[in-house]
Amino acid sequence: MLPKQIRKVNDTLWEIPRSYKPGMLVPARFYASRALLEGMDEAVFDQTTNVATLPGIVGHSFCMPDGHSGYGFPIGGLAAFDTREGVISPGGIGFDINCGMRLVATSLSFEEVQPRLTELVDRLFSAIPAGVGGKGLLKLKPSELRTLSEQGMRWCLKRGYALPEDLERTEENGCVPGADASKVSERAVERGQQQIGTLGSGNHYLEIQVAREENIFDRDLAAALGIRFPNQVLLMFHCGSRGFGHQIASDYLKSFLQVMQSRYGIPVRDRELACAPFQSPEGQDYFKAMNCAINMSFANRQVILHRIREVFSEVFGRDPMDLGMHQVYDVTHNTAKIERHRVEGAWRELLVHRKGATRAFAPGMAGIPEIYRESGQPVIIGGSMETGSYLLTGVLSGEQAFFTTAHGSGRTMGRRQAKKQFRGQQLAEQMKERGIYVRTASYSGLAEEAGAAYKSIDEVAEATEAAGLSRRVARLLPVGNVKG
C-alpha cells in the first residue's frame, strides 16, 4: 500500500515530504508510472525515506522506476552527499560493488548466427565460468590482484586482454582514480584471486541478442551507438566484482557499525544503512577499497569480453574486429563516485551513491567518450532472460536526478516462489521452443530467473523516458543465454 503522505508531482514522479518521518533532511522522490509505483513493496518507501535522514544528503533521496527493497538503500536508490559534510554508506552501493552491464556489437546478422547459435552458446558456456565454484582461467597472485585492482582495465590492456577503444567506451575508462589496495583485506584478495573472468550466479548472465527493426526506437541514435542494420547481433553481459567486492563491502560494514554512533553520533536506523563521514579515516579507507572493487569488476568484464571475442573468432574463423566486435559501452550500477552537479544554480562536488541505478550523462557532458558526445552516454538496462533488454542514452533533463536512470527490471516474485512455480529444465525447453537457447550452471537457479518473476522491462524503460531520465534507443531480444 502506498504511504498516505505520498503526492503526485507529475505522471512519473511522486514525492514523500520531510514530515513523513522524524529526521528526514530532504524529501524522498520516486520515479515511476502509477502502475510501477503501486507495484513497489512497502519497504521501498521506508528505505528511501531512511536514506533521506543521512547527514549531508543533497536535493532528494531518489528511487528509480525499477525500485524494489534492498538492504539499507532500496535497489534503484540514488542519493548524493556533500563531500565535505556528508557520509559514505556501503548500503548505498551494495555488496556487489560495480555490478554492471556491458554491450558489444557485431557485424553479424541473426541469419548468419542462427546456424551456429547452439555451438556459440555451448562454447561461451565453457569459456566463461558461471555459477557456484566457477574458477577463472587466470589465477592471480595476491600482489597481482592488488595491482589489477588499482589499474582496472589498464591492467587488461597491458596484458593483451583489451583494446584501447574498450577503455574509451567504458564508464571512467575502466579505472576509477583513488583506488588504494592497501585498504583491501587479505580475505577479500583471497576470495577474488580465482574469479577474474567469471560471471557469478543469481541474476548474472551473458546473452546473445538481436536488434530487430521494429524494436529500434530512434534510428539515428541507434546508428550512432553501433546498431546499424536489421537483425544485427549483439552481446550483453551482467556481472560484478565477485567475492572480492562482496568481502570489501562486508568488512567495511562491520567497521562502520563500530564507529557510526559511538564516534560520529549518527543514529543507526538500520544496520545495513551503516555509514561514516566521507572525510573520516573510516570513510576514506572504504572509498579507496571500494574503488579497488570497481576496478576489479571492470577488469573482470574485460576478461570476459576477451573470451567472447576468442569464441566468436574460433567459431567463425575470422578476426574479432573483422566480425565488428566493438564494445558499445560498459556501465556500472552499484557505485559511489565523486561528481560535480549543479544544485539550485550552484555547482557542488557530490558523492553520488547509485545502488541499482545507472549514470546517464547527457550529450555534451564531460566524462563520456568523444564518439558519444552528440548522442549522450549509452545506458544499458538488463531485463529478464526471457523478455529482453534496452539500450538507452542520457538526456539533458536527467539533471533533475543527478543524471541517473534505472538499471534493470526489478523482481516482483520471491526466489522460492519462482522455484515453486517454474521448473528449470522445463523452462529451458520452453525457451528453446521460443527461440532462446540457454545453458545454465543450475536449473534451480534458472527457475528463479524466470521472466514472470520480474517487472515488465518495457514499463520501466518507458517510465525512464517519460520522466526525462533517459531516452530509449533499442530493445534487444535474447536468442542465446549463458546463465550463472
Binding site: 527493497s69 555488496f95 556487489d96 584471486q193 574469479q195 523482481r411 522460492r416
Partner: protein, 142 residues
C-alpha cells in the same frame, strides 16, 4: 532440518529462520540453511576438512562471522563444506565458536548446485532466545 526459508522477507534474495535447543544447534542450522542455498548438501563427500575458530564480544556478530566464514572458504578455497561439529561458549567476555566442516570443491557434474551467496546481510538480522529455544533470522544476498 531445524531451519525454514522465509517467503515474505525478501523478493530478490533468500531469508531463513534457524532454530535450536542450544546455541550449537542453532548455529549448525544456520550453516545448513546457508549451504542449502548453494548446493544440495547431501551431494557433498567429506574429502577435505576445515577447522573454524572465531570469537567476538557480540553473539550476533559471532553468528554473522561464522556464516561469512562459509562464504570465504567457498570463494578463497573453492570448498563447499557441511558442518560436522560445533561448539559455542563464552570466555573472558567473548563469545567463541569452534567447529569443523568437511566437504569438497564444487563439481557441476555431481553436485546439484543452486545459487551462489554473495554476502550475509544485517537486514532483519536477529538472534534471540524464545523460552528454551534459540532462534536466528538471516537474509543472504544472492
Amino acid at each position: 532440518m531445524p531451519f525454514e526459508y522465509l517467503e515474505d522477507l525478501t523478493a530478490a534474495d533468500v531469508a531463513f529462520r534457524a532454530e535450536g535447543g542450544s546455541l550449537e544447534e542453532m548455529f549448525a542450522a544456520a550453516w545448513g540453511a546457508t549451504l542449502g542455498v548453494i548446493v544440495d548438501p547431501r551431494d557433498l563427500r567429506p574429502r577435505v576438512r576445515r577447522r573454524i575458530r572465531l570469537q567476538d564480544p557480540g553473539l550476533e556478530q559471532l553468528l554473522y562471522g561464522f556464516l561469512e566464514e562459509q562464504l570465504y572458504l567457498k570463494d578463497a578455497q573453492g570448498l563447499l563444506l557441511r558442518l560436522e561439529t560445533c561448539r559455542v561458549d563464552r570466555r573472558g567476555g567473548k563469545w567463541r565458536v569452534q567447529a569443523t566442516a568437511a566437504g569438497e570443491p564444487a563439481d557441476p557434474g555431481r553436485h546439484n548446485l543452486g545459487t551462489d551467496v554473495k554476502a550475509v546481510t544485517w537486514h532483519h538480522f536477529s538472534l534471540r532466545r524464545e523460552g528454551d529455544r534459540w532462534q536466528a533470522t538471516v537474509i543472504l544476498d544472492v
